[in-house]
Symmetry: C2
Subunit: 201 residues, 2 copies
């Protein structure tokens, strides 16, 4: 088996699994469901993933990687600009606008997978590790932006950048939750509202 073939099959299976997970969550989808959705056999799936838990981890990881990717792209764009023209809140809004089409534009709604991944992270150490690492990175970037913004004199010198980074992070995950669970949030209106936070003095 060539390495290419192995990787292709793995991705095929992961995509089938994600369709199932988005529909029913991790626990309510059986391995049989994934097998059926993938068009393969149980034996075939188990020759690419040693257990259901590994399949879950394999499905969660690329989603969170995409999030850090987008965030880094926005930060890089910002760093390139001559001066920090965006407030930290505007940076968050930009991240939202960029990640939205990736999250809900495809065949699966990744916001639904994200919410089930949060729940799974509470008990599965592997998922938790992925979440801690990724979300830690994302939040750290936001904290850095806040600190820079504060040190440029736009916020009081004693502002707690880390806590404010946590709050801005909340506006990201809060959008994900409301989109997945309540389904009544509009990206543009939400992003616009985010930009009202931490206004320039």
């Amino acid at each position: 088996m060539t390495a290419d073939h192995l990787e292709n099959r793995r991705q095929e299976i992961v995509r089938a699994a994600l369709r199932c997970f988005a529909r029913e969550g991790f626990h309510a989808t059986s391995v049989r469901d994934v097998v059926r959705e993938s068009g393969l056999s149980a034996g075939a799936v188990y020759s690419y993933f040693p257990s259901k838990a590994e399949l879950v981890a394999g499905a969660v990881e690329p989603i969170l990687e995409a999030l850090t990717g987008v965030l880094d792209a926005v930060v890089v764009d910002t760093d390139r600009s001559p001066e920090p023209g965006r407030t930290p809140a505007e940076a968050v809004a930009e991240v939202l606008r960029r990640i939205y089409p990736l999250a809900v534009g495809g065949e699966v709604d990744y916001t639904r997978v994200a919410v089930t991944a949060w729940a799974e992270g509470l008990r599965d150490p592997a998922v938790r590790a992925i979440a801690e690492q990724t979300y830690g990175t994302v939040r750290g970037r936001l904290t850095d932006r806040v600190a820079t913004w504060r040190d440029a004199g736009h916020l009081a010198a004693d502002v707690d950048a880390e806590a404010l980074g946590q709050v801005l992070f909340s506006t990201l995950v809060g959008f994900v939750l409301q989109h997945a669970l309540l389904g009544d949030v509009d990206l543009d209106r939400y992003a616009t509202a985010v930009c009202l936070l931490l206004p320039r003095p």
Copy 2:
């Protein structure tokens, strides 16, 4: 069986179930687990709850009711004051401060149950209905506060109150998620940071 006895037993079972759910989530806790935790028998549990799904719903409902209760209390307090002295962000911070001891001060960490309830709401219509109703109410209250604040001239007249209400709601659920999943948020620092979001002009 007296109505008192029935209600006491039901609450006993619900509390045992919540301990299990906070540990492992809904799907990973079996009815046997709840039976063991409650010290009763399977037959007894099933004579108070017709199914596991009802048990889940019975566990989720009082948690969300507590949330709306606290929110209403804060809104009432605010309405009593001679003028709206609190910004909408400060109202959110106050809700956080009041609900925190209820959520994590007892024998179970309700933020963990909340996160698993979100995931369950994606697929269980009964849980979803409870979440939609409660969170809809909470968000509506926040939207009202924003609209009042805007109409008092503290925000531009064309501000989208509903969207800003959604953003403020995100800071609530975002705290819950970060507390449950990452465990590294400090209530006081977070609440203080929330207050910075919408400063008085």
